[in-house]
Symmetry: C2
Subunit: 212 residues, 2 copies
DNA sequence: TAGATTGTTAATCGATTAACAATC
DNA sequence: TAGATTGTTAATCGATTAACAATC
C-alpha cells in the first residue's frame, strides 16, 4: 500500500493545495484530473499518478471532490496539525517574514524571535516577542519548538543550526545563502535561496536575447 | 555542439557557483569532479556531465581550475553582464529585499521601487528611490529595466505583470503566492514561494515522527 | 612512464506519459 | 444503459550513474 513518494510529487503537493483552495473559493465542488492538470500545466495522467501515491481520492466517471481532496492533501502536508516555530535573526529579513508571512495558515504558530540587537530585545514584532540570543537554548529546551527559521547572517548559520538540532528541533527553514542540508542530515532542512532563484532568471532572460 | 540544457542542470549552476566561490576564498586553485561532487552531495559523474553541457572546462589528469570554472559558470549565468531591475511593492517584504538582498553581486542594479503608499513615495530605501505606482509605465518605457520584482499583494500581481510585459520587461521575479508562469509564457518567471517551501518542510518533519 | 582525472558513451534508474480496463 | 473519468499497468522519455578510453 505504502508506495515511496518521490521528491517531485511532494513538491507539487503545495501547488495542488493552493489551486484547490482557489477552486473552492470559486464554488467549484468537483474537478477532473484533466481540468486540474490544465489549470496547473500538468498532464491528467500525472495528476492521477500523484494522487494515487496516497490513495484513491477520486470517483470513476465523476472526478475528484474539491473539498475532500483539499482536506486530504492538507492532512498529507500536516497543515491540520498545529506546529510551533522560532525565528532566529529579527533584522530586516526576519522582521519582514514575521510581518508578512502567515504562519497560521500554514499550520505554524511563531512563538518567539531571537536576536543579538539590544534595541530589539524585549520588543514585539506583530505580536511575536523578540528575545535575547543567549536565551535561545533554554527557550528551546522548555518550549520544544518544531521548526527553526534561520534569517540571521550566514556566518552564524551553522552554529545556530547545530544548537537548534542539539535542542531537538525537528526541521529547519533556512533563508541563509548556505547549504545546510549537507552537514545536518538528521533534521530536514528546506532552503529559500533568493540568489539562486535570481541567477536562474538571469540565465533564462539571457537565453532569450540570443533568440531575438 | 549545442546540447539542450535541462532544467535540472540549470538549477544546479547557481550552487556550483556558490561552492566554487567558497573554494576560491579558501585559496583552492583546482578541484576534481569527485571532490566537488562530494562537497555538494552529487556524484562525480553528474558534475562532469553538467559541465560538459557547456564545453570542456577541465583538464584530464588534473581536474578543474577553480578560477576558470567560476568565471565560465558566471558567464553562463550572465552574472558578468549588468542588468537592471525595478521592484513593485515597497512594503515590508519589498523593503526587506531592498535592504537585504545584494542585487549587485548577482549582476543586477535595482534602479527604482514603486508603491501606492503616499508616505513612501519620494523617499529612498537603501539608496533606491520609491516612486508612485502610476509612474511605473512611463518609467519602464523610458528606462527599459530587464527584470521586475513583484513584492506586492497577490491581488495586483497579474495586472502588474501584464503591465510590465507590455512595457517590454524581460523577466519577472515573483514573490507573490500566485502561479504567474502559466499565463505569461512569453516572459520567463522565477517564483519564490515561501509557503510552498514551508509546506514541504511540514510534510518532511511529519514523516519523521512516524519513524520514531 | 605511471597515475590521475577528464570527456563521453553505454547502462540504469526513475519519472512522466499513454493506454485501457474497471466502475461510477 | 451510455458516457465519463478514475486507478493502474505498460511504454516512453529523460536524467543519473557507471564504465572506460583518451590524455594530461
Amino acid at each position: 500500500m505504502e508506495k515511496k513518494v518521490s521528491q517531485a510529487v511532494i513538491k507539487r503537493l503545495p501547488r495542488y493545495h493552493t489551486h484547490l483552495q482557489e477552486l473552492r473559493e470559486l464554488g467549484v465542488t468537483k474537478i477532473s484530473s484533466r481540468d486540474l492538470g490544465e489549470k496547473m500545466g500538468l498532464t491528467a495522467s500525472q495528476v492521477r499518478q500523484d494522487f494515487n501515491c496516497f490513495g484513491g481520492f477520486g470517483q470513476q466517471g465523476y472526478g475528484y471532490p474539491v473539498d475532500g481532496l483539499l482536506e486530504s492533501i492538507g492532512r498529507i502536508l500536516r497543515l491540520d496539525e498545529m506546529k510551533t516555530a522560532v525565528l532566529v535573526g529579527a533584522g530586516n529579513l526576519g522582521s519582514a517574514i514575521i510581518n508578512n508571512f502567515n504562519f497560521l495558515t500554514n499550520g505554524f504558530r511563531l512563538i518567539a524571535a531571537f536576536d543579538v540587537d539590544a534595541g530589539l530585545i524585549g520588543t514585539e514584532i506583530s505580536g511575536v516577542p523578540v528575545c535575547a540570543m543567549d536565551t535561545l537554548r533554554d527557550f528551546c529546551r522548555e518550549h520544544r519548538p518544531d521548526v527553526g527559521v534561520l534569517t540571521l547572517p550566514r556566518e552564524y548559520a551553522h552554529e545556530t543550526a547545530a544548537l537548534l538540532c542539539d535542542c531537538g528541533i525537528r526541521g529547519i527553514w533556512n533563508f541563509t545563502n548556505i547549504d545546510l542540508h549537507l552537514e545536518i542530515d538528521t533534521v530536514p532542512v528546506e532552503n529559500v535561496h533568493f540568489a539562486e532563484s535570481l541567477m536562474v532568471l538571469s540565465y533564462r532572460i539571457g537565453d532569450r536575447t540570443k533568440r531575438d
